[in-house]
Symmetry: none
Subunit: 202 residues, 4 copies
């Protein structure tokens, strides 16, 4: 009887090794040999777990979205008032910190790929749903603020939610290009604070 292996686990392990490399060098520039070496296995073994190189990217992206989702669900507790909730949610998203940097870079590459094909390929769907959910959550918070009278009644909650979420990608992108240019948390705090101020009734 052959060695018993948790195929799923091993797939995930390889994907993790791949993500690191994809982040460092990009998908195209990363070779199967490098992934194998990084995963501590033989080149051929990769093909026991993945059909093609693209398949690795697919698995890797699933890994990524799983992590993103987890990071979000773990950290967010919807206590407090709408203003605080927005602030908390924003900080949470942006403070995921170093461990997600790599993830974000691959995430950006995936984004790019999907931009080009102009359709949500496999994996991107997962994210599409996640993004939709987050927009909803955020819009609801704003709506609830409007209901309590804390926020302007004329605020377009969906539009604001969409843009605010998008802005997270933007600031992260700018931050990762040159992290010495500014302090991410500080800048974000100032901005989110201003965003909330814009919402609040006076």
């Amino acid at each position: 009887m052959p060695k018993i292996v948790d195929k799923k686990q091993k797939r995930a392990e390889i994907a993790t090794a791949a993500i690191k490399l994809f982040a460092q060098k990009g998908f195209e520039k990363t070779t199967i040999q490098e992934i194998a070496t990084s995963a501590g296995i033989g080149k051929g073994t990769i093909y026991e777990y993945f059909k093609t190189k693209d398949d690795i990217l697919k698995q890797a992206s699933e890994e990524i979205f799983k992590q993103l989702e987890q990071a979000l669900h773990n950290n967010f507790n919807s206590s407090a008032n709408p203003s605080e909730q927005i602030s908390a949610l924003s900080m949470m998203v942006l403070s995921v910190g170093k461990e997600v940097e790599q993830i974000f870079i691959v995430y950006l590459e995936l984004w790019l790929r999907n931009m080009r094909t102009h359709k949500y390929a496999d994996f991107m769907n997962i994210f599409h749903v996640l993004l939709g959910e987050m927009r909803e959550v955020l819009a609801n918070i704003i709506e609830s603020g409007k209901k309590t009278g804390a926020f302007r009644a004329d605020a377009d909650s969906r539009a604001l939610a969409i843009y605010l979420l998008a802005s997270f990608d933007g600031i992260f992108m700018h931050y990762l290009l040159d992290s010495s240019a500014f302090d991410l948390v500080e800048v974000a705090k100032a901005f989110i604070n201003n965003f909330i101020k814009g919402l609040e009734r006076t």
Copy 2:
């Protein structure tokens, strides 16, 4: 020196052809042959104008930043009050429209490349400067608003400028992935409006 101009012009032409392809397929997946064909010249001729494939990307990125810069400088006239200036600047950046979509995709790929190397390679420097300038312009507008008393005195103008500019990339990125999900201008207007509201004294 009758050929000098020609050479420069041809470089630009080739770069333009390249940008289109880079946007469609990505840098790695675009072949020299394709660029040559698209530019209507022979494969070997490319090397009369560019040292390497990377060199084409460099020229392409210069082309891109030239266009971005032009788009910005052309449209922006610093009339009116700070609030209106912010609004105008924002709309201008975001309303560049279809012709810049391709540019943006390549711009994103360049961003990704520089994220990975963790240093501003050649071409990126140009952008670094441009970004710095824009941050400065925006921060100054906010500062001037503070001076006139229109804006909160405690507003961190640099932080807000940094984040607002970054947010443009974010929303554009989200928009280009799925342009049917929302109306870019509408969403941006609502958000910028809120941003200004957050700044204004009450």
Copy 3:
């Protein structure tokens, strides 16, 4: 030694599975995995019965010649006069029918392999002997016809035997390429009949 028989039997079973695949896809294009799957066993198990992939081909060819031989010996009964014997032998060879088509294709591939190496490798020896025997049998029939005065005295029995046997491969080959082009038995009958006519004294 209870396992000995099993082992032999299993070898034969695997070889049978292999022959089917070799006929369909050719030896090179058939993978060990496919043979294993087709035989209903694990890939590794193949190597309990065969040293290498070539070894399977060897066994398969033995299987093939065993079948060919059996088909011949079963059907041939040397009754009647020389003319009838030739006719019967010919028809027997050619009427083996559908079940041997697969066999013939692999047989042809084996032939090709041995043509290339310009030596009778292992398995081919068996056939070499079989071919020799058949030539002998056929030549003897002709000789006996000459002795009884039924056949021309100047007939070169060995040459005719060699060629006639070879012609069976030729017509089978043509038939298998496009079995709709002609009726094998009908064509063969006409030809063999003419062959015998050529032999008979007038």
Copy 4:
């Protein structure tokens, strides 16, 4: 301006080099590198002339049929009486000699490939036509013999033509497997002579 090359000629040259190797080692076992080396060019250059490895086989087979056709058309002159014509045609086919041995081996491999796919792929079509023509020519000769009263009126000219042509492949196949076993021309002469005797009226 680049080197001017007769692409067609070079394709043929490479195909010729390939045929030699295909005959020696078989298509599957012949590597692109080997073909390139044998053709005295670089591995990559092959792909300037052929899309894939299969494409080389296709070109090679065209080369082969061109040669076969030429060999036949060059040598056959329809003089003399039907008996002599048959004799001449047969000898011609079989006496093509050494230079066609290689060709024949590849021809056999092509045959095998097409047997498997059960359809005439590209190249095989050419041969199909050639075979049809030859059957026609041969059948016509027999028919003309029947008309002059030299041959039996009841001879099935088409069947005999089909089989006789097929027999050429058979005897060649046997001869090439072990050319020391018999003298091809001698054996063929005896056989063809007998074939004609079978046809002739008595």
